[in-house]
Symmetry: C2
Subunit: 134 residues, 2 copies
DNA sequence: CGGGATCCTGCAAGATACTG
DNA sequence: CAGTATCTTGCAGGATCCCG
């Protein structure tokens, strides 16, 4: 147990005492974003460099245009990504990570680092669990 | 931009060069967990202390029994939580955070800390965005 | 090129009722 | 107390076609 985790636990203990309402917890917004299938990938891809719509789509081959558009709108709405239109012909639109979006990259990186370090252990545990269930 | 974020970006650049498949990315498992509505709350509540089923339910008032059971099963399957049955009458079952689950608490805490520091800015940006859309 | 509009499907998650 | 079983609904996300 480290300092940040201990602090989190202390905060939760207070929320709990106040009969907190998970539905209105503002932290949900952020966790929901992280849970969205494409949001994190878009943030990371834009962390590498600013990109145009179809550049992004090539960087993340499996995303559909629809979901990419929707993901970008959501991220823009939350101020994590900015959209810059250049009135060329045909039009070109560049997406950039905002300072806020860039700052999110750090905690995200730590979470993903944890996932990379531990996903093998998770998959083994899972195999054992599923085997025992049979 | 800090070290862990820079490292993440470097890794992504390599994935991208290898034409990576998001559907098979093992990191998804973890991000999906974080996105699940109750999983993080359960992990934090168990970080405070080990608890029994109905203790957990009281700590997180809005969760239904069904979702709590399902969430606990998933976390147990991934080895983040362990389940201990005491054959008393009536039966009592205690859930504990495993070492793996405890280690997840740290990156999670940083993400939630970020969310707490920035949710106000996000909500303001969102209000402006929605206002402009009208 | 950078989308928008529509239709469709599957799954997360809630409501309710029952049980060892 | 600690669940299971069943039904239902909302929404994420995919497929397809259209547009300036």
């Amino acid at each position: 147990m480290n300092a940040s985790a201990a602090s989190l636990i202390a905060r939760f203990t207070k929320w709990e005492a106040l009969d907190f309402d998970a539905g209105r917890c503002p932290v949900r917004d952020v966790l929901d974003r992280v849970g969205e299938k494409w949001a994190t990938l878009v943030l990371i891809a834009l962390g590498v460099r600013s990109r145009r719509f179809n550049e992004l789509k090539r960087a993340i081959p499996d995303v559909s245009k629809r979901m990419l558009t929707q993901t970008l709108r959501t991220l823009e709405r939350d101020g994590l990504v900015t959209r810059h239109v250049f009135p060329t012909k045909p039009p070109s639109v560049e997406y950039r990570l905002s300072p806020l979006g860039t700052s999110l990259l750090q905690p995200l990186a730590e979470l993903i680092g944890w996932a990379e370090r531990n996903h093998e252990a998770i998959q083994q545990t899972r195999a054992v669990f599923d085997g025992a269930a049979t």
